[in-house]
């Protein structure tokens, strides 16, 4: 067995810095995904056929093409088109955020449709305007039901964020590769990165469980 973990010790601070780099754009991407996903979901359930069509087309495109392709188009191809030299960070946030919102919108749509029709009627009968009804009555109930599915989506996003290494963004994955190339040993840095990804997802899962428990208070 050719294993020597002492070799990566000098590079551990370098790799640990990747945690924050990864987290930074994952947090931004999740926020965009949630916000845009909610808006898209609301478009999908309106009676306005144009908005519905737009949201469906959006979902179809971002779900129907590989994430890595979207990332490379945003990072390499868009500058060619508009002449703006987009940063790796912004490309990553955009690609993951836009991609995630397509999936999130479907989850939220399903969650809204699963809320009992009587809730809408009760709100309408009390004279509650649409926007307040959505924010205070429908979405909180939808969110409770879809929380596990949303957590799944965010866990996937956190792990798949490793794809950004292809555009040279110095995330955790990219740093592990660099260290591997430097010391001519790949197993140790990759295993190290793997453990960190696992820990991040573990923490995310715990946060999700805590939120779920709080939301189940009314049961």
């Amino acid at each position: 067995m050719n294993l020597d973990f002492s070799q990566i010790v000098p590079y551990i601070p370098f790799m640990l810095k990747g945690i924050w780099v990864t987290l930074k754009f994952v947090i931004f991407s999740i926020s965009i995904g949630l916000l845009l996903g909610t808006i898209l979901a609301l478009c999908k359930i309106t009676k306005l056929s144009f908005l519905k069509w737009l949201a469906d087309a959006y979902t179809s495109i971002f779900r129907g093409t590989p994430l890595i392709l979207q990332l490379m188009i945003i990072y390499y191809a868009v500058p060619q088109l508009i002449g703006y030299d987009i940063s790796a960070f912004l490309s990553a946030v955009l690609a993951f955020g836009l991609n995630s919102s397509a999936y999130v919108s479907e989850i939220i749509r399903a969650g809204i449709l699963a809320v009992d029709r009587g809730q809408v009627e009760a709100a309408q009968a009390l004279g509650v305007p649409y926007q307040k009804m959505m924010v205070h009555i429908i979405l909180p109930q939808a969110l409770k039901n879809i929380l596990p599915a949303l957590m799944n989506e965010f866990i996937t996003l956190t792990k798949e964020s490793a794809i950004v290494s292809v555009i040279g963004y110095l995330d955790l994955m990219r740093r592990a590769e660099i260290v591997g190339a430097k010391i001519y040993r790949n197993f140790e840095p990759l295993l190290f990165a793997g453990i960190i990804y696992w820990v991040m997802v573990f923490i995310l899962t715990q946060i999700g469980k805590r939120i779920e428990r709080r939301m189940r208070q009314s049961d």
């Binding site: 009968a125 208070q217 009314s218």
Partner: protein, 241 residues
């Protein structure tokens, strides 16, 4: 108070309400009875435009609410509604259920809304449940909360859509008692019900619907002892035996 003229409601090809006209006076309790599928609930739901009538007009206090320009939300503030399946907001406590609409729709302060809510909860006998979530309540308690929630908006008319049909038999009385008190206090009420005794004792006017048509209307005394139509006789024979 409410005037309905030539009300027609179609769902696709299916005509559910056929030319219904009637008036409901201030302070009157109207019981709508009839077999299942006769259009009772649809009629009730047209009164606050939860269902949009296909044709015909409805006036509320002299205002034509079927006018397309009507602000439905503003109109509904004056009409409380109680549903068969309660439709309480499950993620809010009993108190929040009752105070939500006054605060968010009428912009009443939290303190004032809670003061009113406690008075209403006292009226329906549920003050001790103020901080409980609906899932912890029995059906009868849920329906009483739903009545308090509707009353919190200080409506001028209350609509009840089969308020006791989803309840266990032993809980029907507690809800009907609350409704009786409400009727005694002079509230204008329109009640779709299968509770014939309630209709007999509390209602001022009976509307008997069958197959989307208003077959018979009149005071309960006459209706229950001496129905004018064969259809009503037949119905009463079946439900009162």
């Amino acid at each position: 108070m409410i005037k309905v003229e030539q009300l027609v409601k179609k769902f696709g090809e299916n005509t559910v309400l056929k030319q219904i006209s009637t008036t409901i006076k201030q302070g009157e309790v109207v019981a709508i009875i009839g077999p299942s599928g006769s259009g009772k609930s649809t009629f009730l739901r047209c009164l606050n435009l939860l269902e949009q009538p296909t044709s015909g007009d409805i006036w509320l206090k002299g205002k034509k609410i079927t006018d397309p320009k009507t602000n439905k939300l503003a109109m509904r503030e004056h009409i409380g509604m109680v549903f068969q399946h309660f439709n309480l907001f499950p993620h809010m406590t009993v108190l929040d259920n009752v105070t939500y609409a006054p605060q968010k729709v009428k912009n009443i302060s939290k303190a004032d809304a809670e003061e009113t809510a406690y008075k209403l909860l006292d009226k329906v006998g549920l003050t001790d449940k103020a901080n409980t979530y609906p899932n912890k309540l029995s059906g009868g308690q849920k329906q009483r909360v739903a009545i308090a929630r509707a009353l919190a908006m200080n409506p001028e008319v209350m609509l009840f859509d089969e308020p006791t049909s989803a309840l266990d038999p032993e809980m029907v009385k507690e809800v009907l008692d609350v409704m009786k008190d409400l009727a005694d206090s002079g509230m204008t009420m329109v009640v779709v019900t299968h509770e014939m005794n309630f209709a007999k004792e509390v209602a001022d006017q009976i509307l008997f619907l069958d197959d989307g048509k208003l077959i018979e209307k009149g005071d309960p005394e006459t209706f229950f002892t001496n129905p004018q139509t064969d259809r009503a006789k037949d119905f009463l024979d079946k439900v009162l035996s």
